[in-house]
C-alpha cells in the first residue's frame, strides 16, 4: 500500500472516530429535574419564589411552586433556562448551564440559579433512592412452609 493511500485512510478513520465522539457528546440525552427546593450554601439558605414559570431551551413555559420538581428531557451538554418569577420579586432570569456527558439524570436547582451561587452548585447528579423489593419479589423469597410475612434469610 502506498504511503499516501495509507495516510488518506488513516485520516478518514480518525475523522470518523472524531465525528462519532462528537455525535455522542452532542446527542447524549439527559433528563433534567428542575428543582425549586431551598438549598443551603455555607450556612446561607437560598429559596425559590412561591410561583415561577420555567422554560428550558425555548420550550413551552411550565408553572412551578415551591419544593417541586419538573422533569424535562434534553439533548446535548449545554442548555439555556429561563425563569420568570410570577410573584414579581426577581423578574426574569436567563442562565446557561452545562451537564456532564456521563450524567443521565441531573437535578437543576432553581434556588441556586436565582441565588447567583457558583455554577458548580446549579447542577447535581440525581441518585435514585435505594429500591425497595416489590411485593412480588418479597413473596419469591418466602419459605414454602413459613407463615405469611416471614421471609428467608438468604435471598
Amino acid at each position: 500500500m502506498k504511503i499516501r493511500s495509507l495516510i488518506q485512510r488513516t485520516a478518514l478513520f480518525l475523522g470518523i472516530v472524531l465525528l462519532s465522539v462528537y455525535l455522542y457528546h452532542a446527542g447524549k440525552g439527559h433528563t433534567l429535574l428542575i428543582d425549586t427546593r431551598a438549598i443551603t450554601v455555607d450556612g446561607v439558605e437560598f429559596s425559590a419564589p412561591d410561583s415561577i414559570a420555567v422554560s428550558v431551551n425555548g420550550s413551552d413555559e411550565e408553572f412551578m411552586g415551591r419544593a417541586e420538581r419538573l422533569m424535562v428531557d434534553v439533548m446535548g451538554p449545554r442548555h439555556r433556562i429561563r425563569i420568570e418569577d410570577l410573584s414579581g420579586g426577581i423578574g426574569i432570569v436567563e442562565a446557561v448551564f452545562e451537564i456532564p456527558t456521563r450524567m443521565r439524570t441531573a437535578i437543576v436547582s432553581v434556588s441556586a440559579i436565582l441565588g447567583s451561587t457558583p455554577k458548580v452548585l446549579w447542577v447535581a447528579e440525581f441518585v435514585p433512592p435505594p429500591r425497595e423489593a416489590a411485593a412480588a419479589e418479597q413473596m419469591q423469597f418466602q419459605e414454602p412452609d413459613a407463615p405469611p410475612g416471614a421471609t428467608s434469610s438468604t435471598p
Binding site: 462519532s20 455525535l23 455522542y24 452532542a26 446527542g27 447524549k28 440525552g29
Partner: protein, 364 residues
C-alpha cells in the same frame, strides 16, 4: 408487432402489478389523500434499502439476499445508541456510523463465500442470511449484557443479559422524518429522508463512472472476459457486496427510526425479501436494475401492501385474506421474476443457436 411483444415481455411484472393495483384501489375504498401520505412516508422509509441492492446486480451477483446481514448491523447500531442514551439526529447518524464497520465485516464474509459459490450467489446469500441470523441471535440474546456491557437495564431481559424482544426507539423516533418539516397540499413530506436517498443514488451514479464501477459492469457482463482483461474479478465482486451490505445497514437505520421500535429477533428477517420483491416489481431483473426501478418498485409494492387487506375485506369479507395475498405477492413476485429471467435466458440461448445454425447452413 415484435416490438410490442418485446415491450410486454420486458415489462410484464410492472404491467401486471400496475393493473392489479389499479383494480384494487377503488375496491379498497381508501382515499387518495391517505394513499398519497402513506406512499410519501414509505418511499422515504424503504427506498434506501432497495437502492442498496443495485450494486451486486451491476456486478453480476444477482439479488443480494445477504443484505439481511447489513440490516442486522444497523439494528446493533441502534441498540447501542439506545443503550448509550444518544438521541435525535446525532443518535441516528451515530447508529449509521456504528453499523458501518459491522456491516463491512459481514459483507467481506458474505462476499468471500459468494466468491466460492459463483453462479449460485442468490441461494448462497439466502442460506447465509439464515446462518448469520443464528450468530446475530447469539450476540444479541447472550453476548449483550454479559460480554458486551449494556448500561440501560430497561433494555435487558429479566435474567440480566440479552436484549428484550422489543426495543423502543423513543430517542431517535422519526428524527430524520421530522428534521425538515414540509407540507405540500396538507401532506407531510419527509424531506431529509429523500435527501439521504438522493445522496445514495448520486453515490451509485458516481460509482458507475469510476474505474471500480466500470470493473463491476465488466464483471457483471462476463467474468471470464473481465478476468482476461486484467480486472480483479473476485475483489470487484467482494467490494460490490461490502458496499451493498453497508448501504443496507444505513437503510435499516432509516427504516427503523421511522417505525420507532425494533423487534430485536425479527425486524431484519423480512427486509431482504420485501426489498428484493419491491425492486423486482419495479421492473428490475436478476441481471439489470436501476434507480427508477427501485423508486417505482417501492411505490407499487407499498400501494399493493396498503390496498390489498381492505380490497380483500371488501371483496371477500375477510381482511386476513388480503393480508395473506400480500405475503403471497412478495414471495410470488420473486419466483415470477426468476422464472421470467430463466425463460428469457433459455429463449436467448436458443435464438443464438438457431442464428449460428443459420450462419453455418448459409456458409455450407
Amino acid at each position: 408487432m415484435k416490438k410490442i411483444r418485446l415491450f410486454l415481455i420486458e415489462n410484464a411484472v410492472v404491467i401486471l402489478f400496475t393493473t392489479l393495483i389499479a383494480a384494487a384501489i377503488p375496491v379498497s375504498g381508501l382515499s387518495w389523500r391517505f394513499l398519497a401520505q402513506e406512499i410519501l412516508f414509505r418511499l422515504g422509509r424503504n427506498t434506501f434499502l432497495v437502492v442498496a441492492l443495485i450494486l451486486p446486480i451491476m456486478a453480476g451477483m444477482g439479488l443480494n439476499f445477504g443484505m439481511v446481514l447489513g440490516a442486522m448491523a444497523g439494528q446493533i447500531g441502534l441498540i447501542l445508541v439506545t443503550d448509550w442514551g444518544v438521541v435525535g439526529l446525532p443518535g441516528v447518524l451515530l447508529a449509521m456510523i456504528l453499523s458501518m464497520p459491522i456491516s463491512a465485516i459481514l459483507g467481506v464474509l458474505c462476499g468471500s463465500i459468494m466468491n466460492l459459490a459463483k453462479g449460485r450467489e442468490m441461494v448462497t446469500g439466502f442460506i447465509l442470511a439464515f446462518f448469520m441470523n443464528g450468530l446475530y441471535m447469539a450476540f444479541v440474546l447472550y453476548a449483550m449484557g454479559s460480554i458486551v456491557p449494556v448500561m440501560n437495564s430497561e433494555l435487558l431481559l429479566s435474567r440480566g443479559y440479552g436484549i428484550r424482544n422489543v426495543v423502543g426507539l423513543e430517542g431517535v423516533r422519526q428524527a430524520l422524518d421530522n428534521l425538515i418539516p414540509l407540507r405540500i397540499a396538507g401532506l407531510r413530506v419527509p424531506v431529509f429522508n429523500y435527501l439521504i436517498i438522493a445522496m445514495g443514488c448520486v453515490f451509485i451514479v458516481w460509482l458507475r463512472g469510476t474505474k471500480l464501477g466500470q470493473d463491476m459492469r465488466a464483471v457483471g457482463q462476463d467474468r471470464a472476459v473481465a478476468g482476461a482483461s486484467g480486472i480483479p474479478v473476485e475483489r470487484t465482486r467482494l467490494v460490490a457486496i461490502v458496499l451493498s451490505t453497508m448501504l443496507a445497514g444505513i437503510g435499516q437505520v432509516i427504516f427503523l427510526q421511522n417505525l420507532g421500535t425494533i423487534n430485536t429477533t425479527s425486524s431484519h428477517e423480512q427486509i431482504g425479501m420485501f426489498s428484493i420483491a419491491a425492486l423486482l416489481i419495479g421492473g428490475a431483473s436478476v441481471t439489470k436494475a436501476s434507480i427508477p426501478n427501485a423508486i417505482l418498485g417501492v411505490i407499487l409494492f407499498h400501494l399493493l401492501f396498503l390496498v390489498s387487506p381492505m380490497a380483500g375485506k371488501n371483496l371477500i369479507g375477510s381482511g386476513i385474506l388480503g393480508e395473506y395475498f400480500r405475503q403471497f405477492v412478495s414471495y410470488g413476485v420473486i419466483a415470477l421474476a426468476l422464472v421470467l429471467y430463466e425463460w428469457k435466458r433459455v429463449a436467448q440461448e436458443q435464438e443464438e443457436r438457431e442464428h449460428l445454425r443459420g450462419v453455418a447452413g448459409g456458409s455450407a
